[in-house]
């Protein structure tokens, strides 16, 4: 579960985001779409925590995507091919397949929240009609479109500044979802976006799953630090999640 793995490549994926490829067969073989890995970016005390990253794809290599935001991702971005990383994983529950009777899948992703869906669409592409509603800040924040297209996804994009696709939030694209009983939703992204998806799903009586993000310490359900409110009480994002029933998560403002 914990091991060191060699970096194959660590490059810009689009102007604002990076993709890290690792030779991590033991994780790639076990990983389910929606699971994550917990990376110790260096052996020093700073930054102290590991950093969780959802698995973008796990085929020949283990792939994760990230944005340079804080000290952890800054260190990660400076890593070179051939260097090793200490990784715990795969962790978390991962996505469940859609229930019986579902033919169409609508994926609603915001920002880096799109990352886990490549692995999911790798799995769903043969059996389901997939639409991807994908919101980003600008055209420089949009990535992996070709891979989603290759997986047969019908893609609709929104950007905050309108530099590509529809201008505005991803909720502008909800009308692309055909809200019938054979449609199922997967979503991941900022909490206000997930809340909007939840409201849409409630209105149209759609079911689905949401992948959440939270600051984590242990990543394995021990410290109970990444608690999130659900209709069944607090649950850990790292161990009970990161994937929850869409209707189960309780989102604040």
């Amino acid at each position: 579960m914990r091991d060191t793995f060699k970096i194959v490549s660590n490059e810009k994926l689009c102007p604002k985001f990076y993709k890290l490829c690792l030779e991590a067969k033991s994780i790639a073989q076990k990983a389910k779409p929606g699971q994550f890995v917990h990376i110790r970016v260096n052996a020093e005390l700073e930054p102290f925590f590991r950093r969780p990253f959802s698995i973008h794809r796990a085929n020949k290599y283990l792939e994760i995507c990230y944005e340079v935001i804080g000290p952890g991702t800054k260190i990660l971005a400076a890593k070179k091919p051939g260097e090793n990383l200490d990784i715990l994983g795969p962790l978390g529950n991962g996505f469940m397949l859609p229930p019986q009777g579902i033919k169409k899948v609508a994926i609603v992703a915001g920002g880096m929240g799109v990352a886990p869906f490549l692995a999911l669409t790798d799995q769903l592409k043969k059996k389901y009609e997939i639409i991807l509603l994908y919101g980003g800040r600008t055209k420089d924040h949009i990535f992996s479109l070709k891979a989603y297209k290759d997986n047969g996804c019908k893609i609709y994009i929104s950007t905050d500044d309108g530099s590509v696709g529809t201008k505005g939030r991803v909720s502008e694209l909800f009308s692309k979802i055909i809200p019938d009983a054979s449609t199922y939703i997967y979503t991941c992204g900022p909490k206000p976006m997930i809340k909007a998806v939840q409201d849409f799903a409630n209105k149209h009586q759609l079911k689905g799953q949401a992948s959440l993000e939270e600051v984590m310490a242990c990543g394995v359900g021990v410290c109970l630090g990444c608690a999130t409110a659900t209709i069944h009480g607090y649950k850990t994002v790292c161990h009970d999640g990161p994937v929850f029933e869409l209707g189960e998560v309780v989102l604040g403002k």
Binding site: L45, C218, V222, C223, L224, A227, A229
Partner: protein, 297 residues
């Protein structure tokens, strides 16, 4: 090489354990070679814990305010404790009560649960005063004494460092009959998001742990060891065997790895192996030779 240590009438095969709330029955958290395990604190009734966010990263450590989320003593004893006991490592159960009656009820429940020792998490409200029990030597004396009267296993008082002089509190626990003291719990701490002007912890304040607190904890253990005769279980930012050895040389009989396990779950086992190597290298046959062996004091 003799690594065994004693708390009350119970012998543990080695001095390395885990701090309450930082260990679980999870793949990667190996524990079969440890002297004991201390599971997360349980209360008489289930607690849902504090609202998120519950943790924040800090320089060389973290602040947490989990709020003792736990299923309650009965559910723990019937469930998780049974699974933990299967590992075959002695269990030191950690309990916390909101009143004397709750501490008594918890003691009676754990008397029947087959644990090796009982650790009292005294960082709980002291109802008649606006302090924690662990901040009031009179309250510590009262709680320890009433638990000791009932307990069939050794009793350990876990102390808070948020006091003027922790050795005074340790002495109160010893006078009340505690078989050991464990120290330190976390330091009250806070991190503020300056953009939102809000605390980064849902509970507003939390407790600081991790290597950031280690030198303060070592000093507290050292002072306590000069004051009491009962064994000390020491914790506070242990990341390596050398860190653990500092506590032992300062006077600790046992050492607990806590927050470090969140970064590397194998830390407790690595600490144990490192202590063995140190003893071998320095030709120390019995760990007890090291306890309190600081020179020039």
């Amino acid at each position: 090489m003799d690594l065994s240590v004693k708390i009350g009438n119970v012998t543990f095969k080695n001095p390395v354990t885990v701090a309450s709330g930082t260990w679980g029955l999870v793949e990667g958290y190996s524990s079969s070679s440890l002297g004991a395990v201390i599971p997360k604190t349980v209360t008489l009734y289930a607690r849902q814990g504090n609202p998120p966010p519950r943790i924040v990263e800090t320089p060389a450590g973290m602040v947490n305010a989990i709020g003792i989320e736990n299923p309650g003593a009965d559910a723990f004893i019937a469930g998780k404790l049974m699974e933990i006991k299967k590992i075959g490592v002695p269990v030191i159960a950690s309990v916390s009560g909101n009143s004397d009656e709750e501490f008594q009820a918890l003691t009676e429940k754990f008397n029947l649960a087959g644990v090796s020792a009982l650790e009292l998490n005294l960082s709980c409200p002291n109802l008649k005063h606006k302090t924690l029990v662990a901040q009031d030597p009179i309250a510590v004396k009262r709680v320890v004494a009433l638990v000791k009267k009932l307990a069939r296993m050794p009793v350990v008082a876990k102390l808070s460092p948020n006091v003027t002089d922790i050795s005074v509190i340790a002495k109160a626990a010893e006078d009340a009959g505690a078989d050991a003291v464990s120290l330190v719990n976390t330091f009250t701490a806070m991190v503020i998001d300056v953009h939102k002007r809000k605390s980064m912890i849902g509970n507003f304040t939390g407790g600081l742990s991790g290597p950031a607190i280690r030198p303060i904890a070592v000093a507290m253990v050292y002072k306590t060891a000069q004051t009491v005769k009962i064994p000390i279980i020491a914790m506070g930012g242990i990341m390596t065997a050398e860190d653990a050895l500092q506590f032992i040389i300062a006077g600790a009989t046992m050492v607990a790895v806590g927050t470090a396990s969140f970064v590397n779950p194998e830390t407790p086992v690595e600490v144990l192996e490192g202590i063995k190597e140190y003893m071998k290298k320095n030709k120390i046959k019995d760990i007890k030779e090291l306890v309190g062996s600081i020179q020039g004091s």
